[in-house]
């Protein structure tokens, strides 16, 4: 799961190549990778990829500040079905 999300963020959202390779613990907010648009794109991606629904109230920095945070949140949403990536693309 970490690899899929890290790959998506690195490929689609990171504009500053000096931030690559992206660490799973790197803050997406402090590095400016996340803005309101990239957050929405990321949410659409993880919803499709991991078949979860991200509630609006869950759109908070605690869940989306790093690859690790996102995975921890998704695992809690999946109820333990960790890493069940659906396809790649």
């Amino acid at each position: 799961m970490e690899e899929v999300i890290n790959d998506y963020i690195s490929r689609e959202l990171v504009q500053d190549a000096s931030l690559l390779p992206l660490g799973n613990a790197t803050s997406l907010l402090e590095t400016g990778i996340l803005d309101s648009l990239s957050l929405l794109r990321l949410v659409v991606f993880v919803q499709r990829q991991f078949l979860v629904t991200v509630d609006d109230v869950d759109l908070v920095p605690e869940h989306f500040d790093s690859v690790d945070d996102i995975c921890a949140y998704l695992r809690s949403r999946q109820g333990g079905r960790a890493g069940q990536a659906v396809g790649h693309g």
């Binding site: 504009q15 190549a17 309101s36 648009l37 609006d56 109230v57 759109l59 908070v60 920095p61």
Partner: protein, 540 residues
């Protein structure tokens, strides 16, 4: 009567000394404190040799320290130039060099970044740290003493040692410059829009009256200082002795967090680009929050898609919804209020009618007459809200700030907006599109030519075209189509990442292309020009 922006502060400090002027979370500066601290900054500026008319950079996100700095510069008779701490160093150096900045006001967190600019801006002679320091990272090493070769560093403690008394007589008159805002320039370098005290006050006085601001209001705009939307919350709130509330930088990214913040801060008047409001309407979980204090919602900078505005108005009924329109060069020049109880909107709302003390008229493509209702024309604006021109670029100023073609008796400036409009049957202007290569993304103006110029600076890029891709949320996304200089048109190892990194070093992030494509050759029209229409079609 206020004829200089800083009079707004001295007047409010005299009648509402203990009212909150700037609030950051639980902390706030009273009008008396803001007045005194900005007096101290003005004295620190004079001590560094700043003279009336000088340009002083302000390198800071929006904060209490930044507002203290803004008023401090104005009280010193100087003109401030907002510098976005998130901009690439090269762009900051271009702006500082172009405007002739020799002294920069920073905050505790940006002082080191400001001092480091001396490497590319040799004229930089002093960095003054503004305050107070609330919620900003701890001081860095440079903020506490002079560096051997670099600019003098004046710490906040030294500013606080200055007298808090006002300087006395005004050092400027109302036609002098108050600030210069740099916007995207089509030739590849940003251009400085010069705004005088009179021009800014023309907007501020109208805006405070239009929104009915009172001392009870809590006003918020997430717009940073270099974006002209921030003139409203910094100065119009001050005119009414209202409280300007500073939204934490990352809060507006998370819609439900923003809604929670609006509830906690009891914000009554909000002003932003539509995309932030769209996010709030669609993902803000608004029914879960008590936003009963929010009475007026203002949007500007780009077209608000009707379906998202409908959703927002359904989620937050009974508020005033105002569409403000105007390029940086004119401040806000027209406005439209969505009628209360209006039926579901099916098209974007009009940009409306001219503001007080402003005239706006559409000129036909021939340039010889005013367009009739229903006919397309380019919007011209005249009045005291206009910019003085572009800093150091008289040729460009003459092209954009033309002589009003319909005033034969004397020369009067009118600004050509480049926006195509038509007058609808209710007497409101409706925005139709642009005449040139400028697009809006996230509410910011982007000249496609400036992005293309940045791409061409890469040695391996032979040709580059940047096209806008319509985006419901952002206005436009930017799509770069590139021919690399490799053998037989191959990309020669040039990657998307390298292109983005190259752009990132030269352009603010909102100007970095969202999509990068490589082609062996660009399609051409029969006249040999790049066939932008075909490229745009190809991108769909």
């Amino acid at each position: 009567m206020a004829y200089l922006l800083q009079h707004l502060l001295t007047d409010s400090a005299a009648r509402a000394a203990q009212r909150p002027a700037v609030a950051v979370g639980e902390r706030f500066l009273t009008y008396a404190a803001l007045d005194q601290l900005s007096n101290q900054v003005s004295r620190a500026l004079l001590a560094q040799g700043v003279a009336p008319g000088d340009r002083v950079g302000i390198l800071s996100p929006k904060s209490a320290a930044a507002v203290v700095a803004q008023y401090g510069v104005l009280k010193a008779g100087a003109c401030y130039v907002p510098l976005d701490p998130k901009s690439p160093a090269g762009r900051l150096a271009t702006i500082m060099t172009d405007s002739g900045v020799t002294v920069v006001l920073a905050d505790q967190a940006t002082a080191g970044q400001a001092a480091a600019m001396a490497g590319s801006v040799p004229r930089l002679r002093a960095v003054i740290v503004s305050g107070p320091h609330w919620g900003r990272p701890a001081a860095d090493r440079l903020a506490h003493g002079a560096t051997p070769q670099g600019p003098a560093i004046v710490p906040w403690e030294a500013v606080l040692a200055e007298s808090a008394e006002a300087l006395g007589d005004d050092l400027t008159i109302d036609s002098d410059l108050a600030y210069i805002l740099y916007t995207s320039g089509s030739t590849g370098t940003p251009k400085g829009v010069m705004i005088s005290h009179r021009a800014s006050l023309t907007f501020v006085e109208w805006a405070a009256a239009c929104t009915g601001l009172t001392a009870e209001d809590r006003v918020c705009s997430p717009a940073p200082l270099h974006f002209d939307l921030s003139v409203f919350d910094v100065f119009a709130a001050c005119k009414a002795a209202a409280c300007m509330t500073v939204v934490p930088e990352n809060t507006s990214i998370f819609p439900a967090r923003l809604a929670q913040w609006l509830e906690r801060e009891q914000v009554s008047v909000w002003y932003s680009v539509p995309s932030v409001l769209t996010m709030l309407a669609t993902h803000g979980n608004l029914p879960g929050f008590d936003l009963s204090r929010l009475r007026t919602v203002i949007f500007a900078g780009e077209v608000f898609p009707a379906k998202h505005l409908n959703r927002l108005m359904a989620e937050l009924p009974g508020r005033r919804y105002l569409n403000w329109y105007g390029p940086t060069e004119t401040n806000v020049c027209t406005w439209y209020e969505v009628p209360a109880g209006s039926a579901e909107l099916t098209a974007p709302v009009p940009i409306g009618k001219a503001c007080a003390n402003t005239d706006a008229f559409a000129v036909t493509s021939g340039g010889d007459r005013v367009a009739k209702p229903g006919e397309e024309g380019e919007l011209y604006v005249r009045g005291s809200g206009l910019m003085r021109g572009y800093w150091g670029d008289q040729e460009k100023t003459r092209r954009m700030l033309v002589t009003n073609p319909f005033q034969a008796a004397y020369d009067e400036p009118a600004y050509r907006t480049g926006d195509l409009v038509t007058l609808d049957d209710t007497g409101n202007y409706v925005f139709l599109g642009r005449r040139d290569g400028m697009v809006k993304t996230r509410g910011y103006r982007v000249e496609l030519g400036e992005v293309e110029a940045a791409l061409y600076a890469h040695p391996a890029i032979r040709e580059a075209v940047v096209l806008p891709v319509p985006d419901e949320l952002l206005g436009s996304r930017l799509r770069a189509v590139i021919c690399a200089d490799g053998p037989a048109g191959r990309t020669d190892g040039l990657t998307r990442e390298e292109v983005l990194d190259h752009c990132h070093r030269r352009l603010p992030s909102y100007m970095v292309p969202d999509v990068v494509e490589f082609l062996e050759a660009l399609p051409r029209t029969s006249t040999g020009k790049v066939d932008r229409a075909r490229l745009a079609e190809h991108g769909k």
